[in-house]
Amino acid sequence: MRRVRSHLSRLVRHPLAQAALVLVLAAISPLLSDGSVQILCFVLVGIIFAQSINILTGIAGQISLGHAGFFGIGAYGAGILAKSYGLEFYLTIPIASALSAAAAYLLSFPAGRVREVYLAMMTLGFGMIFFEVVREWNDLTGGTMGLPGVPSASLRTLTALGRPVGVATYFVILLLATTLFLIIMNNITRSRIGRALFAIHHSEIAAGSLGISRSGARQLAYTLSGAAAGLAGGFYAHLVGYLGPDSFNLHRSIEVLVVAIVGGLGSIPGQIISATIFTFLPEKLQVFAEYQFIVYGLILTFSLLVMPRGIAGLLLDPPRFIRSAPRTRAGRGDGPPVPLRPVAARAPGGVVLSADGVTMRFGGLTALDDVSLALAPGRITALVGPNGSGKSTFVNVVSGLYRPSVGRVTFEGRDITGKPDFEIARAGLIRTFQDPRLVPNFTVRENLMLGAHRLMRGSGLAAALALPSATDEEANVLKRVEAVLRLIDLEAVADQPLESLPYGYRRLTDVGRVLLAEPTAILLDEPAAGLAEPEMERLSKLIRDMRGMGISVLLIDHHMDFLSDLVDDVIVLDSGRVIYHGSMAGMRQDKTVVAAYLGAEETVDA
């Protein structure tokens, strides 16, 4: 089974096979009956529509129960532009797609304020409003009577530049558009943009720590998804020639969700297969139509549990998120391997990062009480203290997750107090979390690529069209990824999905990822937790390498033997206060510290 799957995947992903499929379809379409070609057109529309859910839900992780609305904006947009303004379809469809994208962009703002079930309800509300508007705005949409007379390929009323466009021609145009769309989508999912969307899908907080703006990514996902749904809608309008509100109700939204889930959320070929099946079945099987609701219901109820990766998970290897062109280029080794560069931090007065009098209160509880510290370039500072002493809170304040109640945080001479986390990350102050927050279905290499997100400047257009500039940039990052892989000694498993690897490897990937961001200061929150001895050694070597590059490291940990020959300074927190700042040796002798950890007599009797 696994071999069949890998052969099938290779076939499906081979550019020649893809080109052959497109050419064969284009070549045989004139030989088929109009009815058959029409069904093929519906298949292509279904494919584009399913991909629009795939972008939003499969890739960016945002649920939508109102996608029929975007499809409808595309369809009615194209229909009205053609009917009332006499525009031809090569204009109406792109405009309709843009309209739908604009609507989705606008929706992303209120949608960005809610999560999960509230998001589902909001999108449901959007879909229902669209449906009501279409049904009641008689003058524009024809209301419940619908909008007949849209120039249609099936009805032989479609013309372009004075020539009639039959179903066969329309199919070829639609086929080209679909192909182009899929190429762009394929490129985007395997660019820094697609990876960023996957990152917010998996953990918004981790994405922020890599310099990815949550709201920006979400707006992008909505806009792209809306554009795709609008594109599908536009083509649909000029295919059928009649638009009625019932084609854009909640059932349409559910149907496309079924298609996307069955295809396998996140997989592009899975959606193609699924959309094909679900378009053919109702056309060809009367029985299916009769049981359609039952089948959809069963699929929705159980498929996410039984088959979370859908058809794609069954038939194909999981998708990958780096294009092969930059990989071959990076692998060819043009020039010597890229060494990891030392960083040049701006450190006014020898201080890269400083906290001054930081106090953090939650309700009645003071988690941090007037904490001040300063990190120098190229030094490792340990932050230790008993459970609940405020270490993680401190990291959260510095990295922008919490705004301190009182106090100031300065990084490279700039005040960063209260700045959002992704801006702080972009400035070069990178953190990790107690639990490694990686994208589980990404490989080690792909996760490492995410680390470089803040440094990548390529435009969306370059990414979408896979322009040489984008390939160059990816190749350069890949070379640095290679260097980090060597450093963390994970070259052997670089291309395995992270979820299949033991915990220690994930941890090393997590810390290694920080290096790709070329930070000037890093905050590591318990990086050694859960590691075995050999992995701890690798980790401590990695942290030393970081110091060697001139990076300031703040390290939270409890393993004193791990810390002792690694760190330059120790800061001990207890109940939110700094109770010791100095050398490791001094700390062991310090009465207050020993008391705080062991709960010695003096403290209890005090």
């Binding site: 839900t57 909640l250 549990l305």
Partner: protein
């Protein structure tokens, strides 16, 4: 003025129906923070089965009880096979899709076996012509029953949640299931019961609303549950008083819009309200302030 009054009475009446649906949705929200997106189908199925049994000559009360028993059992099924497994996965996508799917499944089954045509629904409590006069306006007793039931239920639930130990248990479980288990609370049974109660209430609401229209078809309950969502969100998910107020606001507002602007905009305005509310104050009007989490 008469027109305004009649709109207000109509608004309060339909609003109480939305409130009833919203309360049903709240019940599972209390225990698991989930909502049954298939609630509308349970309403439909209960009404459909009652009508079917009654048409077969079964005594009406027995028919109604059988309908309720079936949806109650389906509540167990939903909790056990759709929601519980989905809650083990991350995020809320799983249970939303599963309950939505279960609703679609029931709708499909009803359409297959009862046909997609509307079925006549018997008069369970009052007939459509029974009215009383309020402020000089006739008000249908059928609606009044729903209003009284909704108000009574809200009062009971507020008492139950606020004054009884089990109300405290439910609040405790919704806050921290694990802590509840460690303290010996039968958490699993409580959750299961909340689904049964929610489903049975959906059935009751379905029957009461079906007798107003006089018919029930497989798509019945669909709009109602959407408006129930709007009411629940408006009042604040989980709040019974909120559900009542939210339902009445939605009902009155849509009737006023329908009466003075256009009946076409009736439902649209409710969904617009939903989106505005979610964007501005997702916790709703009556959500309890959460104690600080540290």
């Amino acid at each position: 003025m008469d027109f305004l009054f009649s709109l207000l009475i109509a608004g309060v009446s339909v609003g109480s129906a939305y409130a009833l649906v919203a309360i049903g949705l709240n019940m599972t929200f209390w225990t698991t923070r989930t909502l049954n997106f298939g609630q509308g189908s349970l309403m439909m199925l209960c009404a459909m089965l009652t009508a079917f049994f009654a048409s077969q000559g079964v005594w009406l009360a027995l028919a109604a009880v059988s309908g309720l028993a079936v949806v109650g059992l389906l509540g167990i099924f939903i909790e056990r096979f759709a929601v519980r497994p989905a809650l083990k996965t991350e995020g809320s996508m799983g249970w939303m899709v599963a309950t939505l799917g279960f609703g679609t499944l029931l709708q499909g089954i009803a359409a297959k076996y009862f046909g997609s045509q509307a079925v006549a629904f018997p008069e369970v409590v009052f007939s459509a012509s029974d009215t009383v006069t309020i402020f000089g306006q006739p008000a249908a007793l059928q609606y009044l029953v729903i209003f009284v039931l909704a108000v009574g239920l809200v009062a009971l639930l507020e008492l139950f949640l606020g004054k009884t130990i089990w109300g405290q248990v439910i609040r405790a479980v919704s806050f921290d299931q694990e802590l509840g288990r460690v303290q010996g609370m039968p958490v699993g049974a409580i959750i299961l019961l909340s689904f049964v109660a929610s489903s049975v209430l959906a059935g009751v609401a379905g029957m009461l609303i079906a007798q107003i229209g006089g018919t029930v078809d497989p798509a019945f309950g669909f709009d109602l549950v959407l408006l129930g969502f709007v009411s629940a969100v408006l009042g604040g998910m989980g709040s019974s008083v909120g559900a009542l107020v939210g339902g009445i606001v939605v009902g009155v507002l849509s009737k006023l819009v329908g009466g003075y602007i256009s009946t076409a905009a009736e439902h649209g305005i409710a969904f617009a309200l939903l989106m505005v509310m979610l964007a501005v104050r997702p916790q709703g009007l009556f959500a309890r302030p959460e104690a600080v989490k540290v």
